[in-house]
Amino acid sequence: MTTSELQFDAPADPVVDGPVLQVEDLHVSFPSESGRVRAVRGLSYHVSPGEVLGIVGESGSGKSVSSLAVMGLLPSSARITGSIKFQGRELIGQNDAELSKIRGRRVSMVFQDPLSALTPVFTVGDQIAEAILVHRKVSKQAAAKRAVELLDLVGIPNAVERAKAFPHEFSGGMRQRAVIAMAIANDPDLIIADEPTTALDVTVQAQVLQLLETAQEVTGAGIVIITHDLGVVAGFADRLMVMYAGRAVEKGKVDEIYQQPRMPYTLGLLGSIPRLDVSEKQALVPIKGQPPSLTDLPDGCPFAPRCPMVVDACHTAEPPLMDVDGSAEHAAACIRTNEIAATDAEGAEAAVEIFGAEVAAEPEVAKIPREQRDIVLGLDNLVKEYPINKGVVFKRRVGTVHAVAGITFDIREGETLGLVGESGCGKTTTLMEILNLQKPMGGEISVLGTKSSEVDAKRRFAIRRDMSVVFQDPMASLDPRLTINDCIAEPMQVHGYTKDEINRRVPELMRLVGLRPEQLSRYPGEFSGGQRQRIGIARALALEPKLVVLDEPVSALDVSIQAGVINLLEELKSKLGLAYLFVAHDLSVVRHIADRVAVMYLGKIIEIGEVDSVFEAPRHPYTQALLSAIPIPDPVKERQRERILLTGDLPSPANPPSGCRFRTRCFLHASLPPEKQRQCIEVEPPRETQAPDHEAACHFAQIRQVL
């Protein structure tokens, strides 16, 4: 393929000296129902050519709004003041036509949700070519050719063909690649990536992060990467800025921030993340309360109400960003930075010390050896298939989705099994099969020894007392039209508790999950996400179940809230001797909370076992890739880590590969000689014991440490 005349300039060719982007005292506010939302309040930062700046903050911290302000893409109702200088040129006050000459040419942007970021009615190639045609006087053919080259560059196989495809024919990861191709099409000087990996699975996230690094290398652009995940930026960013309530509360070099955080909020954030690389039970730091409302901020430090180190002086004035530790680069907005510096511990350990987090005790029942405990939930070769139908009037069956292709595991009393896998692996289907308690299409589900295929409606109803569920989305899992009292009481009403019993038990449950019973007459809409998740847990515990099925219970919550809910779950388990089936995609959380873990890929369990054994010594290549893809919030470790990048996307479960289902993406398979490869293609690997309580389904299983 001959390359087109449109090329990237040589990297590192600063057009203007000085920073690419200089933001000074930026304020952005929006009108809202309850008054003005002051989304950004006096933000200043700069990005030098070729530098990667990470902006970290929770939802509502103003991180996205500030970058949209740079692009000039905020709705007209926003009021923006301050200064945004791009290569020395002031952007605030410029009209749409002037800004559009810079947008896409000098500054480009990668958005969070790749599924909706592309216009559904135009082909991917056309949309990339359009980005070139808007700014350069080249022929349509040249632009189209360049679009194909760019798609090739971002790692889309068959770029010539795929350029003619529409966005809906691309997977999420591929769409994000296409958006990145669009962003680098005109060799920009600044790329703003707004949560570019949040909507993606971990293995895809690793691919996209890698791609962003490549993009930075070829364009030499400065990059602003916005994220809520301290892990994502640890290995990638040069400098970091932590935002809270519309302001920067700490900024500095990445290593400084991770090792010597000087603002309690940063400390809390670091301490609240479960670590993939920590084997002994780690104490998670919950930050109490929730971010303040941006419509009516208190005087003084906005973090003061949640801060463990708060003193009276914190409430008098909002502290400015001040240099700390005598470093000109590291600044924090806290009046007690010196005291934080005085603690001996570093990073997350300092957080544990300052916030006073504790590890929950082991439940009593865990002291009995596993084999002697009762099996609470047993799955034996469970199968679930969906027909694919075509035609409107006469439905013809044209295929079968093998969503769950024979999985086996059991959960014993007082134990937590983490069921992990990427989207489309069948973990949700498994969960629904368990909860439906119907006779499975194949295999067997048994709850406390009762087989679901043999129960009648009455017995099934009785089983439901022993098994309850907590869902992912705290917004959707409570009926908005019922009071909290009614929500929690519902299961007891269904199962025939008397009014007195219910009235006595509901306040108990509220206290059990750390909420005040006085709030019982309120509606779910008045509670924050973390509180609602607690209410959901209270409802799940109402009938004193033996098993609680947790469907991604913390993935919809901000990190600082997440830690509190995880702690609560651990504590309840130890207190009530519950067994959990914990379905999640976040392996760090699973490592923290689970006793055993099962990894799913395309409807099969490919590795299962005791959690430390699986994480420390993974045998299956997929587990290894999965673990290596998860970023660790430690810049030093992160830079040294070897990362296994998987190629391609998940195959369709309607047409899974023969033999080993993972072989199409397996790096190990690719490295094998042909005669061994044949075994992968022809024989489905059985699950074999690799170590005590550790099984893996791979013909050539070998330990590879990836943490």
Partner: protein
């Protein structure tokens, strides 16, 4: 199926003989009996339907009560209806979409309020009121000018003499007011839907992406926004056409156009099963055709459908 239902209902409820018997002076019993035979009223309803459908397949829609062949009149009446509707619909869609887009882009500005008010009033005005009001308005204009510029009765002036150009002018004079009566309602209807569909698109991520790559807001709106916002409209356009035949009944009656809608009213008033069934068949065919048209339009606009 629909036609069978309509035929059955009509046959079951209509009582043409009763109408005949109430004539003054009452016709002799023998002629009533003869009429009954003519209309196959002695047969059970399904058999009557089969007989009628058999005729339809061969292009014979039966005879009216007054014993005139329906087939002869059918073609002329369809022509009249289509002339009236096609123009009205085209104008309605064009201006409706335009108004909707302008309204969405300038949301909560004066032009949006004006457009909203305009469509609300029009949507609340049934076409028989609107038609009559337009008639009154046209009368007023004619009075103030002094000549009959806008003619609102019938399709052409009976016995009009002149060359083809003058004929065209005459037809135009007759066409303006009824077309307006149809178009105004359509504009109001489509503009509301286009507005909300456009507003949905306005907040979408892909529009932001389009701007992020350097398109001005206006360009992004028209190239990426409008094109996508038209997709849900495809169904509306098509089905609007099908249902307009019923709505057209009023317009035809008010302005004295002898089209299909007018025929329906005549048929029911005269309790004539064959006419009613024929018009129903026509409506059904229109709706089915619209459904097909909607599918085609949808596929043309939306690549996501095209693949399936």
């Amino acid at each position: 199926m629909a036609t069978f239902l309509a035929f059955t209902l009509a046959s079951a409820t209509f009582d043409p003989i009763g109408v005949l018997q109430q004539r003054n002076p009452p016709p002799p019993a023998a002629s009533i009996e003869a009429k009954k035979r003519d209309l196959h009223l002695d047969q059970p309803i399904p058999q009557r339907f089969v007989t009628w459908m058999g005729g339809v397949v061969q292009g014979d829609f039966g005879r009216t009560i007054t014993d005139r062949p329906i087939t002869d009149e059918l073609g002329r009446r369809i022509g009249v209806s289509l002339r009236l509707f096609l123009l009205g619909i085209t104008i309605g869609i064009l201006f409706g979409v335009l108004l909707g887009v302008v309204s969405a882009i300038r949301q909560y500005k004066f032009s949006d309020y004006f457009a909203t008010l305009f469509s609300f009033i029009l949507l609340s005005t049934p076409v028989f009121v609107l038609g009559t009001l337009l008639k009154m308005g046209a009368q007023g204009i004619n009075d103030s000018i002094g000549t009959n510029v806008l003619i609102f009765v019938g399709e052409t002036t009976p016995g009009f003499q002149g060359n083809w150009f003058e004929h065209l002018g005459d037809r135009l004079q007759h066409l303006i007011v009824p077309t307006l009566a149809i178009a105004l309602g359509q504009i109001a209807y489509y503009s509301r839907y286009q507005r909300s569909s456009m507003l949905d698109v306005l907040g979408s991520d892909f529009l932001r992406t389009a701007q992020a790559k350097g398109l001005t807001r206006r360009k992004a709106l028209f190239k990426h926004g409008l094109r996508t916002a038209l997709i849900p409209m495809a169904t509306l356009f098509a089905f609007g056409f099908g249902l307009l035949v019923v709505g057209g009944t009023f317009t035809e009656r008010i302005f004295g156009w002898f089209g299909m809608g007018d025929w329906l009213v005549t048929g029911i008033s005269a309790q004539d099963t064959n006419i009613t069934a024929t018009v129903t068949l026509f409506v059904a065919v229109c709706v089915l055709f619209s459904g097909w048209l909607a599918d085609v339009l949808y596929a043309a606009l939306d690549p996501r459908i095209r693949v399936n």
